[in-house]
Symmetry: C2
Subunit: 394 residues, 2 copies
């Protein structure tokens, strides 16, 4: 899932994302809550409509950014009081308020409000943090269940809210409008199709967002298993593993995943938050991870670090100044089809906006192509060949 | 002609420019000379190949930027000595050296090296500057005629330079390769088609770039006429009017144009450099101007100033924060087809890269659509209606 932070994947327009085959984007509740504001997005029909994205969206709860971006954080049982990194204003995030914000934004998948345990953390601290996250998960779920029908697009009546238009007028039957664009999951947790449909046919079933729980527990396998089991007992439609990629060595990340994944039900999405490199995402996918998100492809792109089938390319390097060849001879993206390394280097060296755009498009194409190959290998049952092929690309 | 300064229209990829119907881009010799360097671009096959742009290109001579951007300029008969705005290094631009640079870059149309007379300038100063420009025009043309066959794409033999590939292998006949992508004008000054063809059929005619002369003379109609007549006597395939839009009141701009245009042959392109607003470009086109270039659509876009059929929109304004309507209801561009004013405002207010891209796409669409309407009106002979319609859009 590429990161669309403030309702935009930096420098990449939505139609390019569609063309790349992006099926789901991540939006950051922390950022959108501050600007333009969750209520404002609700008033405009929700985040999908606001950013003109018809495919799936997932919002995180804001918990992570509160810890990583803001100043003067004060954690209590109620939630987290923090100062905005933008203007220093004070805010309070609670499980209830972040659920409210996420319902207003209307993403297909929303995340329980958790405490992302810092690294390193001693066992006592990790346990206390895990317990807090579990109590917050209960409160998140309670609020969500009571208010999930209030998503901007989840209508009970035929009345269209101001500004919303049906995507397909041909299918509108009088009085049968229950939803403008089908979103989310039905009550029995059936996703509409395997790949988050772009089905604009109006349906009369009442659909809602899906709330995922987040496993914490620091780097302690037994705490992780306990956290997972207690979340599963709360019966979420999907489960995330948080608190990883926070500075720990990779070996520890994998140890935690090995301990945690078996405790989460296979038949529901298992989502590892905030990972990873091309090599990591393959490894974790082959371990059974279904969803991942990371700023790496786009952030690295903005720093001129490009992933290719022949290894990493640091495009600012002078060696590319006269290189007429495409960035990646094995890549079919529009950047590699058209532009030379020399031109990409020139754009980056001169701080051109186009550098950001083209680099991001390529890195996203690389990541998405990587996952496509993983899915293909899984279907074919031919995993080992894929794995060693990817190893060389890291 | 949108401005592609350093080989890129800031934030807008080449395929979008093609989709917008851009037929010709302007590249700045001053900037490209400094980075990556004219020789470097030559080595990569010329500017078209470097920036992967198959349509037409025009380069200015560097004269204007030397005056507007660099420090410590010293003008002599030889040329202009200046310090780079990037790193303070010293350089000398002469008619010969800027012709050499432009031949290396390989744009379809190149400009004589001129002195852009400052405003205001007294008559004596304007006359002296005009005379210098005419002497430089002679030297530009002399050098150009002696070296024009050295453009990176103007081949005499069948041997392909390193890196260049024929655009259509089907049409390659052994030994008949005279040019990879037809460029420029034939010796009898016939442009290939009306609209700068994308004809990839290989031709055996020997083609070169076209050098345009530039009229100066300050704000003095008689000097302008003299400058024009003496340039026409040198017989250029096209003529530009420089030294306008340099701070003078609009009435004076028009006075100079009224004095100068009749002195330039109607059957050759007449190009006014550095203009203008949507209203201006219509006025000047209806006065007989054939070509114009301006940073305004893209620069204004980057500052959130958007041109619409209902007037200028300053997208950062709070009044758009909840506006779900498209930017311009009468615009068919991809931005107006998809995104709301509220979203565009959000992007701009948060310094998102996508703001720059989307705003530029729209403003370019607006400018190009404006000129399309001018051409249509001219063909239909229905100019007055167009003129009053455009007036309201200024």
């Amino acid at each position: 899932m590429p990161c669309g932070t403030l309702g935009s994947v930096k420098g990449v327009p939505q139609d390019i994302l569609e063309e790349l085959g992006v099926e789901i984007l991540l939006g950051n509740t922390y950022h959108l809550y501050l600007r333009p504001g969750a209520a404002q997005v609700r008033q405009l029909g929700g985040l999908h409509k606001f950013m003109a994205w018809e495919r799936a969206l997932l919002t995180d709860s804001g918990g992570f950014q509160v810890f990583s971006l803001s100043q003067l954080r004060k954690v209590s049982e109620a939630g987290v009081e923090f100062r905005s990194h933008l203007d220093g204003s004070t805010h309070l995030f609670t499980p209830e308020s972040t659920m409210e914000a996420q319902i207003s934004l209307g993403a297909d998948i929303v995340m329980a409000f958790d405490e992302c345990t810092e690294y390193p953390a001693e066992r006592g601290r990790a346990q206390q943090s895990m317990e807090l996250t579990l109590r917050w998960a209960e409160r998140s779920k309670k609020y969500f269940e009571a208010h999930k029908h209030e998503a901007p697009w989840a209508l009970e009546s035929a009345e269209l809210p101001q500004g919303l238009k049906p995507t397909s007028l041909a299918n509108v039957s009088e009085g049968a409008v229950n939803q403008i664009v089908p979103r989310g999951f039905s009550e029995n947790r059936e996703p509409r199709t395997e790949n988050f449909p772009r089905n604009s046919k109006l349906e009369t079933r009442n659909c809602t967002q899906a709330l995922f729980g987040i496993v914490q527990g620091g780097m302690f396998p037994d705490l992780r298993r306990e956290s997972a089991e207690r979340l599963v007992a709360m019966d979420f439609p999907g489960y995330a593993i948080g608190g990883l990629s926070v500075g720990e060595p990779r070996a520890l990340t994998e140890e935690v995943l090995h301990a945690t994944l078996p405790a989460l039900p296979k038949e529901r999405p298992r989502y590892v938050m905030g990972v990873g490199t091309p090599e990591e995402i393959v490894r974790y996918a082959l371990m059974g991870v279904d969803m991942m998100d990371c700023v790496l492809p786009t952030r690295a792109a903005r720093h001129g670090l490009l992933y290719t089938s022949e290894g990493k390319v640091n495009i600012k390097n002078a060696r590319y100044a006269q290189d007429p060849s495409p960035l990646d001879p094995n890549c079919g993206c529009r950047v590699c089809a058209r532009y030379s390394r020399a031109y990409l280097r020139h754009l980056y060296a001169n701080g051109e906006v186009l550098a950001m755009t083209l680099n991001s498009i390529h890195n996203l194409a690389f990541y998405l192509d990587t996952m496509r190959r993983v899915r293909h290998s899984i279907r074919l049952g031919d995993i080992s060949a894929l794995y060693s092929a990817i190893q060389s690309r890291a």
